[in-house]
């Protein structure tokens, strides 16, 4: 790859492939949500300006960048349905919280990788009911996944034509 952006974009494509395989499987939701979070994080990192490495985000990348990708896609490509951006931003925040290092100051220890101490027991991702899985079926959730998949496979807005 000629650039970090191109490399992140290519890995995002592979993560999307894995997400779709897991989404079609009978495995626990934590597995597909893990790949969803990794896919979207890499997609977003592909669009960060790499000339300013000190300005690169390492956490909460989806909350910060994915709404902008959806907004820009709508502005340039257009669509019959205008996204509900407040719902999209809330969902992006929930997707960032799937990462084990992002826990909203200890208030949200639930994550898709490691067990955590719950109120009454030790909780396990494979057995946990993630609310975000249901929210992905709402109009905002379906739009988020659809636009992100489109930008991943057909990167019309991508800054680097490697």
């Amino acid at each position: 790859m000629k650039s970090w952006s191109a490399a992140f974009a290519r890995q995002a494509q592979s993560d999307l492939d894995a997400y779709e395989l897991l989404a079609a499987s009978a495995l626990p939701a934590s597995h597909r949500l893990h790949y969803l979070q990794m896919w979207l994080e890499k997609l977003c990192k592909a669009y960060q300006l790499k000339e300013s490495p000190q300005m690169e985000l390492t956490h909460q990348v989806v909350s910060k960048i994915l709404p902008k990708l959806i907004e820009e896609n709508w502005t340039r490509v257009g669509s019959k349905h205008r996204p509900d951006m407040k719902a999209v931003r809330n969902l992006c925040r929930e997707i960032d919280l799937l990462h084990p290092q992002i826990d909203n100051g200890g208030k949200r220890p639930d994550n898709v990788e490691y067990p955590w101490a719950g109120d009454a027991a030790i909780e396990t991702p494979a057995l946990w009911r993630f609310g975000v899985a249901q929210r992905l079926t709402t109009p905002a959730g379906r739009l988020l996944v659809k636009v992100a998949a489109s930008l991943t496979r057909n990167p019309v807005l991508f800054p680097d034509s490697d």
Partner: protein, 110 residues
């Protein structure tokens, strides 16, 4: 033809700002960002948008490729909270080297 390029970029910056605000009315202000290389064709159109709904994460430039014919230039959008915008104005939060705020693309009516 530097002036023609500058005019095109100005119009495109306005088009992008208007598009973003249509989809997200919470954007309170939008400014064009310019650099010393603004007259060069490869220099992207750059915008700063102030949005209370965004995550406070400092200056995170997000870059998009050109999308001709309507968007013949690459573009960069920096979205910040109102608090971060005040810091940029005070100088305690920096834009990338050589970038500076230019004309207002959108601001609330007085």
């Amino acid at each position: 033809m530097p002036n023609a390029v500058a005019m095109d970029k100005r119009e495109i910056a306005k088009l992008i700002a208007e598009g973003h605000r249509r989809i997200e009315p919470s954007i309170s202000h939008a400014f064009r960002i310019v650099s010393d290389h603004e007259h060069e064709r490869d220099e992207p159109v750059k915008l700063l948008e102030v949005n209370p709904d965004t995550l406070a994460a400092g200056v995170v430039p997000v870059v998009f490729g050109a999308f001709p014919p309507d968007f013949p230039y690459a573009s960069v959008v920096v979205e910040v909270t109102e608090g971060e915008f005040e810091k940029i104005r005070e100088g305690s939060l920096q834009l990338p080297d050589g970038w500076r705020l230019d004309e207002v693309l959108y601001e609330p009516a007085a």
